[in-house]
Amino acid sequence: MAAWTDISGIRQRIADSSAEEVTASYIETIGKSKINGFTTVSEEAINAAREIDANGHEGPLAGVPIAIKENISTKGLSTTCSSKILQGYVPPYDAHVIEKLKEAGAVIIGKTNMDEFAMGTSTESSYYGPTFNPWDMDRVPGGSSGGSAAVVAAGEVPVSLGSDTGGSVRCPAAYCGVVGLKPTYGCISRYGLISYANSLEQIGPLSTSVADIATIMDVVAGYDNRDSTSINRENTYSDALKDDVNGLKIGVPEEYFGEGIDENVEKAVWDSIAKFEDMGATYEKVSMPHTKYALASYYIIAMSEASSNLARFDGTRYGYRVEGDNWHVMASKTRAEGFGDEVKRRILLGTYALSAGYHDKYYLKALKVRTLVKQDFDKALSNVDVLMAPTMPAPAFKIGEKIDDPLSLYLADVNTVPINLAGVPSISVPCGLADGMPVGLQIIGKHFDENAIIRAAYSFEQNTDHNKARPPEVE
């Protein structure tokens, strides 16, 4: 039976029964799931829960089940990026975030479905087949962390980790009606996250409540000497859980309400901003003129990095392999069969963008645009505390609707990718429904000012009922 319980509720349940019982009940729920959100359920989860019952655990997540996206390395637990090419790959080590979660007592309950190598906006490109949106089984859950968002929305797990390269936590959070945070670049160690586009991606938590997001952040964020881009900065995220936005200055970027925006989405977001006004905040319109170039810049950078990152998958040492007479043939056949269409498309485009004759025309130009996009954020956020905009311009689309039209799929990321280019933090919180499907409000902050957006999101959650809406389809 689906049970939407937040971390404090889970801890109460554990206190009343046991970690083993709680874990077992979640595993039972997952077993009956129809949404295809999990790719693997950990056989170790029950043992881990028993261990906690037997020895006790003081950690803030003692006994709390958590689901992990397929691209975050878990020792002894299959991690394939939902790709055929990594079939059978079991990492010999834990990602930094997994170490932190285990230290805090969390029970890694399983791995969640995703777009192959995190390339996508719909979780349709998984080797394991698509995940279905719990709100409407005909619709996509968003991507690429679609599994991580859908399983939380369906009550199959209280919290999960996803990764966000161009909106991959926020998009499925918005489509599935849960909370998802993309932290500042460098805030959480990427050690163990299988890279798609290193300079853009961050691991981020998903849950049904902002408080849970803060709790997870308290556990997983912080400096790690194995990730050179991680930043040493002390912060307690749960300190930001205050129901107070009095005097908060909100900037509303006009460019995020552009062509193609769904009118119901637009309305839900403006209603939310009005709600913030009621709560004592003020807003002003701001302009971020380079937004229109962000998408092109993002895709060139992401694909360029991806073409290099995915070079290591050649069948030599792990994963899927097609035998051949020599190494070239073996590697070529392995890659031809092992990668899906979207991944091949991005590898080829990235290779092209970096190649000698085009490097300056595409890659370097994309970097220049990135700088301009960053400056847009610096400028806009110099006058206001946070920015607010729709996370996605429209609610979740139908499965198969855009799969053969990659360009229209890329356009869906228009409001999320600039944030990754700039490296600033952004949270998506449920803010209403459009045609019965959830709408996400995106709250964007300054570098390392997660507390401002958590505080705004928490206040919003406390003063509205949007986060209590549950998908009708489940059971």
Binding site: L86, R190, Y191, S195, R226, S228, D314, T316, W327
Partner: protein
């Protein structure tokens, strides 16, 4: 004398130096002491390039790189950065090599060598840091192997690639450049050049100022000289037959001593360099002064000092400063005996004996050579005996004093031999007469007598010479 470079030869060298004295690899904490280990035992997710692993720069490697840059008179860049060099090869676990591209840690510099016509300056273009790939082991020959094994122990070792200008004009100069480079690196104590793969050379060669050809995979200095001699000859012959030299990469087949074409310019790789997103740009300018303080006296400076301080000639000073270990050895000896004697005995005699046996200076002790030199200068033994003592120590072991005793090498023993010679001649007038009459065999008889009288303590050859000298008086 001006070297006119009759063949218009230009040689530039790219030398990969493995910094095997760092305790850990370039981007991870794996131990660098893998040389005697089982394959794939010095590896971790990072140097295996496992999915999700990230590089973290080894600070000590940066320090060593700066040190090398300074020693080669290079400019050190303010801020450096790593790039990805993308290419496929089974020994490259990530499908790209992390290297430096447009911001190498060290810029232009120079090395002074003994050229064809005296001192010759070879320009250094750059020196940059990069990671070593793994190592392939083919079962059988490379073209007919049933399978290939990969050992990743070497993967991720720190390499410094030192690129020279095409300033060398003969294989001999190239060899001298390599020797000088090795000498400087030894001085810096940043690597052990004796370990396998510690220095690897690629050469760019052109003749008659023409197009250059790159010769890859040269694994020794001797090999470099051979490869260059072959390649110059090949290019000259090719041109003489009306051929044209094209830009290409050739492989040096060490066993056959020839170079073989690998690829021409048309097949050149496009490495698709771009900045490594997992490593943030690294400021190095602030570290330079501190590293500069750790720079030791380098070969050229030491040579000058030896000439000035010990009054040595250029040849001795050069021979004694090529290897840091020899230089240190010499200075210890020079502190105890006359420095000029020390120079002669260490440089001319001891080093000769060591080279002959392919031994390093570690095979002899300062104490022993001091003892030998003191015996000679005190006129207690002959120079010849001294050489014999050195040889004995090297071949059979033992201390010089013991050897002197055992072999009766003290000069007083000379008198015994001389007396024995006198006696033998006086007591055997017939034999003397026979010899003088043309009977060569009688000489042997007299020498035998001498040996009898000295109970075999005399050196037979020496006894023979002495008898001869006496008879010819």
């Amino acid at each position: 004398m001006v070297y006119e470079n009759p063949d218009g030869v230009r040689i530039g060298l790219e030398v990969h130096v493995q910094l095997n004295k760092l305790n850990t690899k370039l981007f991870c904490g794996c131990s660098t002491e893998y040389h005697d280990s089982e394959p794939n035992t010095h590896v971790c997710p990072v140097c295996l390039g496992l999915p999700g692993s990230l590089p973290v720069i080894n600070e000590k490697a940066v320090e060593y790189a700066i040190k090398i840059g300074l020693a080669l008179n290079c400019s050190i860049v303010e801020q450096t950065q790593f790039h990805r060099k993308n290419y496929y090869y089974p020994d490259l676990p990530k499908g790209f090599q992390t290297t430096q591209y447009d911001f190498p840690i060290a810029g232009e510099g120079r090395i002074i060598i003994e050229g064809e016509d005296g001192e010759h300056v070879v320009g250094i273009t750059r020196a940059h840091m990069e990671e070593d790939p793994g190592r392939l082991q083919h079962m059988g020959s490379i073209d007919r192997s049933k399978g290939t094994l990969i050992n990743y122990n070497r993967s991720g070792m720190t390499l410094i690639e030192i690129v020279s200008e095409p300033d060398m004009r003969s294989p001999k100069e190239a060899r001298r450049y390599l020797d000088k480079l090795r000498s400087i690196l030894d001085y810096l104590d940043v690597f052990d050049g004796d370990l396998e793969g510690a220095m690897r050379v690629d050469a760019n060669v052109s003749v008659h100022w023409g197009e250059r050809v790159e010769v890859k995979n040269i694994s020794s200095f001797k090999g470099a000289e051979r490869a260059l001699l072959y390649e110059i000859m090949r290019q000259k012959n090719h041109i003489r037959r009306g051929g044209e030299i094209v830009l290409e990469t050739r492989h040096f087949d060490e066993a056959r001593g020839v170079t073989i074409s690998m690829r021409t310019k048309e097949e050149e790789h496009d490495y698709r360099y771009f900045p490594e997103p997992d490593l943030v740009p690294l400021r190095v300018a602030d570290r330079v002064p501190k590293v500069r303080e750790t720079l030791p006296e380098l070969p050229d400076a030491k040579r000058e000092r030896f000439m000035e301080q010990y009054g040595l000639g250029e040849t001795h000073a050069r021979a004694l400063t090529t290897e840091i270990k020899v230089a240190n050895f010499f200075e210890e000896v020079a502190a105890k005996v006359d420095p000029k004697d020390a120079a002669v005995w260490v440089s001319d005699i001891l080093k000769g004996e060591l080279n002959y046996r392919e031994l390093s200076i570690d095979a002899f002790t300062v104490e022993d050579i001091v003892a030998v030199v003191e015996l000679v200068t005190a006129n207690k033994i002959t120079e010849k005996s001294a050489v014999e003592i050195i040889r004995t120590v090297l071949d059979d072991g033992g201390k010089p004093q013991e050897i002197v005793e055992a072999k009766g090498l003290l000069k007083v023993e000379d008198d015994i031999v001389a007396t024995a010679v006198d006696e033998a001649i006086a007591e055997n007038p017939e034999a003397v007469a026979d010899y003088l009459g043309g009977k060569e065999k009688s000489l042997n008889f007299l020498v035998g007598k001498v040996m009898q009288k000295t109970k075999g303590r005399a050196d037979a050859r020496e006894a023979r010479e002495k008898v001869l000298a006496k008879l010819n008086e």
